[in-house]
């Protein structure tokens, strides 16, 4: 068969890392057809696992309890940086019900962040495991630490990341030219924007149950974004052949970029299970999750930027620091989506004695977008330009122009505060906007099997996982549409590494990778079915039509079940793989926010939010709206409520719980207007989820400024910052 070379996105642990070239079959194969001609797809569909999830019947990893299962537990370091001088496990080992206590860091070893696991425990009950963790006698010799950028960048700062210098710079663009161009600009803004370290806050903490009872096989239940990221590492820890380890992910309670591979929880679940020959569950506590399960990086972004009265963005000079603990995350480069005549960016990661950052929804993009959108707003106000028009002037892609117009209309942009801080009474209303982008392309990893049994039942099987995005639902819908059946006629099997391979869910690549493979499998099943049934109808196989649970041709029709009865005893199987024409890459979004600021209390209430998002062919409009809503809510959370708080001197986190790390709740949710941008006519599937939580952060921050005249450059925008800002404004005015 002829081959062709194409480029697809490469994603590692949720972080997009450019593109790779792959070779694929050069065949015609299936196509989606026009976006508005689908029977099931591009319509609102009910989630097929809804009944299981709403009745408690859905089994998550944390719900699994094989016979004899022990409860695992970590003892965490209480210090940001310390050497262990004594470690006595015996008091814990002696406790009743405690089966194993194992050192992870030994005497003489160092811990480099608060929360680093020091010892692992397996016990008969949760209570006994907790007691054991507290009975371990550890002595620490504290060492100097740094948990703020200021401390980390001091000349005599303690070394945090081994083998990596602090603040090693990457540079792009010409600094001198950019600086020089600023001189002639009509308006120049110098500003520093800060975002704190964020937490994924998956409701299901990192959890793994290693079901191993001796012998040569094991099943590993994992709360993971990648079914196939589990078996290899689990097998290594269990000392088994990879082929003998099955990973299972039936339902999972959120990942947001933090759940790839077995992680330290899985590692120790497996090691303890191997040591004891009995199943072990390792489920992090909420505090563990905050301290030791990864986080999203914080940022400090300093700008000098200039624009002209005609709205031209002339020069953007940006220095970006990424705060990623002992990890090495990055923030998307500036000037983000905007085109400037002169741009210079230098990026310098800053390591601190904190747990390392990992991918968190659109890694590095919300941070970059918040800073750039704030900067664009500051320039627009300084020049007296409409912030929307100023953006359009400096955005090339027509998608954003279309989306900004649609969003402005939905939010009522003309009703924004004409003077920031203007208006009578203490409640000030304002509006802001922002744009964002994401990749969301597919790659060639999925293998889907569709089988049609003699009794007419249809199964679509692939090892992929459903993070709550609706994977199960669109698998059924694609197959049903292809075979002329209904959603309930299909059974999907997912979340098991013994099924066909699938990529991990990172970079919003699942749908664009999986949907084409499902489509291909269904297409192949239909083609095969047509061949089998055509003689019964006296029709040519190419002329057989599948519709309304019937197989039609030559003026005749057979019920689906009658047609299937003609299949051999083993039924029919068809395999599908990803096909390049069925997915595409690159989505755009625009967010608008309307807020109400009480200038006498500093309280900010988002009253309305709108997000316009393209995604090629929408598969399930209802799930898509849920995703867009989720993106808006998460971006609002980042703007107004969320952030890790550290005590710089003690080096530890002060708010490792949901009482103090504040997620938006029911009373925070504004009127939300999710708009699917049907102006995007690409007949291809593209992942959009991460695109939807990028621009809202800046939109909310800009709306706050428009409402009350206070520009908060450090997230989250809490009442104290508003009140302090108003006080400053008052003092400036004398």
């Amino acid at each position: 068969m002829a081959k062709k070379k194409i480029k697809v996105p490469k994603v590692v642990n949720g972080v997009p890392q450019g593109e790779v070239e792959i070779e694929v079959d050069d065949t015609a194969g299936p196509t989606w057809g026009p976006n508005d001609k689908h029977r099931l797809l591009n319509k609102p569909m009910k989630r097929v696992d809804g009944p299981a999830k709403t009745t408690g019947a859905a089994i998550y990893t944390q719900d699994v309890r094989p016979p004899g299962m022990l409860q695992g537990k970590f003892l965490l370091s209480p210090h940001a940086h310390a050497k262990i001088t004594k470690l006595d496990l015996e008091p814990a080992q002696k406790l009743s019900g405690v089966k194993a206590v194992v050192a992870i860091v030994n005497v003489g070893g160092e811990v480099r962040y608060e929360g680093q696991p020091v010892a692992a425990i397996a016990a008969e009950t949760v209570e006994a495991a907790n007691d054991a963790a507290r009975a371990i006698a550890v002595e620490y010799e504290e060492l100097p630490h740094a948990v703020t950028a200021e401390d980390a960048l001091k000349p005599n700062a303690p070394a945090v990341a081994q083998g990596r210098g602090q603040g090693r710079q990457q540079k792009q663009g010409n600094a001198e030219q950019t600086q020089a161009a600023l001189a002639s600009c009509d308006a120049v803004v110098e500003a520093e924007y800060r975002t704190p370290i964020l937490h994924h806050s998956c409701l299901e903490t990192h959890s793994i149950v290693a079901d191993f009872r001796g012998g040569d096989e094991a099943t590993v239940y994992a709360s993971t974004q990648g079914t196939f990221t589990i078996p290899k590492d689990a097998a290594r820890e269990l000392g088994l052949d990879q082929s003998k380890v099955t990973s299972v992910v039936q339902h999972m309670g959120g990942g947001f970029g933090s759940k790839f591979g077995i992680g330290i929880a899985g590692q120790w679940a497996c090691r303890l299970a191997k040591q004891l020959g009995t199943p072990v569950k390792m489920a992090l506590t909420r505090r563990d999750e905050f301290l030791a399960a990864g986080n999203g990086p914080g940022s400090i972004q300093k700008f000098k930027a200039g624009a002209n009265k005609d709205g031209t963005l002339v020069a953007v000079h940006a220095v970006q620091h990424t705060m990623s603990g002992i990890g090495n995350s990055n923030v998307a480069g500036q000037p983000y989506q905007y085109k400037a005549q002169h741009a210079y960016r230098e990026a310098a990661p800053v390591n601190t004695n904190e747990d390392g950052s990992v991918a968190l929804r659109a890694p590095g993009h919300p941070q970059a977008s918040f800073a750039m959108e704030s900067l664009m707003d500051e320039l627009a106000y300084k020049l007296g330009l409409d912030p929307v028009e100023f953006r359009k002037k400096n955005l090339k892609d027509p998608a954003w122009h279309r989306q900004l117009d649609a969003g402005a209309k939905a939010i009522g942009w003309e009703n924004r505060n004409k003077t920031p801080g203007g208006g009578a009474g203490p409640l000030k209303r304002g509006m802001g906007c922002g744009v964002g982008a994401w990749g969301g392309g597919g790659n060639a990893q999925c293998v889907v099997d569709v089988t049609v049994a003699q009794d007419g039942s249809v199964t679509a099987a692939v090892g992929s996982q459903d993070l709550g995005t609706g994977t199960r639902t669109y698998i059924r819908a694609i197959v049903a549409e292809e075979l002329g059946l209904e959603i309930d006629d299909i059974v999907e099997k997912i979340g098991n590494s013994k099924l066909g391979n699938a990529n991990a869910s990172g970079g919003s690549t699942t749908t664009a990778s999986l949907a084409p493979a499902v489509k291909d499998a269904a297409y192949n099943a239909r083609t095969e079915m047509a061949k089998r049934v055509a003689p019964l109808l006296g029709a040519q196989p190419e002329a057989v039509v599948f519709d309304g649970r019937k197989v039609l041709g030559n003026g005749k029709s057979l019920d689906w079940k009658q047609a299937c009865a003609a299949l051999p005893a083993g039924g029919l199987s068809a395999r599908g793989q990803w096909k390049p024409g069925l997915s595409a890459s690159g989505v755009h979004g625009a967010s608008f926010a309307e807020v109400e600021v009480d200038v006498e209390t500093g309280h900010v209430r988002v009253t309305k939010m709108c997000h316009v998002q393209d995604c090629g062919l929408p598969l399930n409009r209802k799930a898509l709206e849920s995703q867009i809503n989720g993106g808006m809510i998460q971006s609002m959370g980042m703007a107004l409520y969320e952030g890790r708080v550290m005590d710089p001197e003690l080096g530890v986190m002060l708010n490792p719980g949901f009482g103090d790390y504040k997620l938006p709740g029911c009373l925070e949710i504004p009127q939300l207007i999710p708009i699917i941008d049907d102006g995007d006519e690409r007949q291809a599937v593209i992942g959009m989820a991460e695109g939807a939580n990028v621009p809202g952060v800046g939109a909310v921050a800009n709306a706050v400024y428009n409402a009350c005249g206070v520009r908060v450059r450090q997230l989250p925008i809490t009442p104290d910052k508003i009140l302090n800002g108003l006080l400053q404004l008052q003092q400036q005015r004398g």
Partner: protein
């Protein structure tokens, strides 16, 4: 959670005996504890900031969950009456609106269904450093207040010094404003005292927030008949409306003459001090005045006189002034 013993008490007297520390005097955080709704107690035990060797269940005692109007305009609240009972009680909603508002402002419905009046008054304070086990702050028996020089945006602007936590109760400021009294029963018998004397400053006893000694329990709160009751309100300001403790709160009550001249006033601040913080100067300022904008502004300013903000919480001053103004204006409307 550390292990503890459990006992269902059959009477107040038995509860008092069951609560007696086994080895005589013990650290306040290691004494047996009574449990009503347990919403703060269990959270604190789970967080390993208190370590009661025994928990004594008061819910098995008959007659502690009553809400009784005394027929003459006063009110009796059993210590085990739940916050849901208080907020839904028709008499309270009608005749003690501030109390109903305070009860319904607490946490979440799930917590109010279990949380009790007594427990709300006796809950432990809020401060990041106090609420995290690892910090051996002065409140926990250590030698310093960590918040003072560090992260203190939620901490106290009144009544601090040795320790700078905030008293988190929503009922307490309102009940103090309504001149409530509290009945306590312990090893030495029964005593009644004004609720405002129930709370102690860190300068008096940094380890405890109330006058309760080990083995003592609150059995009842009495709100006397007063024209203040009907003109009472509670305004609570939270960073996150859905579930949060007060950053600042104001319990206010007024008696107004027919021409709207203030006869008497009560203003008690919550969420900004180590105890419910009554501001007599502002109350006295209001007497004999009508509440125009200027008077409201001056009362608000006076209410915050003497505040001692730390590095990050000066914003609580204008915020609380606003709440004082709005609470009074609401009562005057």
């Amino acid at each position: 959670m550390n292990a503890f013993e459990w006992a269902n008490a059959s009477s107040v007297e038995d509860a008092v005996k069951l609560l007696k520390p086994a080895g005589g005097k013990v650290d306040p955080d290691e004494a047996p504890r009574p449990i009503g709704g347990g919403q703060d107690l269990l959270t604190s035990v789970k967080a390993y900031i208190v370590h009661p060797p025994r928990i004594v269940n008061l819910k098995t005692i008959q007659g502690l969950d009553h809400i009784t109007a005394d027929g003459q305009g006063g009110l009796k609240l059993g210590a085990l009456a739940t916050l849901t009972q208080v907020e839904e009680h028709a008499d309270i909603k009608g005749k003690f609106p501030g109390l109903a508002e305070a009860a319904s402002s607490v946490a979440t419905p799930q917590i109010r269904n279990l949380g009790t009046v007594g427990g709300n008054l006796c809950q432990r304070p809020r401060c990041w450093y106090f609420r995290l086990e690892n910090y051996n702050c002065r409140k926990k028996g250590g030698s310093e207040c960590f918040a003072k020089e560090a992260e203190n945006k939620y901490n106290a602007i009144f009544g601090g010094g040795k320790s700078n936590y905030v008293h988190p109760s929503d009922l307490a400021p309102m009940l103090v404003a309504l001149d409530a009294t509290v009945t306590i029963i312990g090893p030495d018998g029964k005593r009644d005292l004004p609720l405002k004397e129930f709370f102690v400053l860190p300068s008096q006893d940094v380890r405890r927030e109330t006058v309760l000694k080990d083995g003592e329990i609150v059995t009842e709160i009495q709100v006397p008949a007063s024209p203040l009751n009907a003109k009472s309100t509670y305004l609570k300001f939270k960073e996150r409306d859905s579930l949060d403790f007060a950053i600042s709160a104001v319990a206010a009550a007024l008696e107004l003459a027919a021409d709207k001249t203030v006869r008497q006033a009560r203003i008690v601040l919550g969420g900004v001090a180590t105890i419910p913080w009554r501001v007599p100067a502002a109350e006295e300022f209001l007497v004999g005045k009508k509440l125009d904008d200027q008077v409201l502004a001056q009362a608000a300013k006076t209410a915050l006189d003497g505040a001692k903000p730390m590095s990050q919480n000066a914003y609580k001053i204008p915020l609380t002034q606003t709440l004082v103004r709005r609470a009074l204006a609401k009562l005057n409307a």
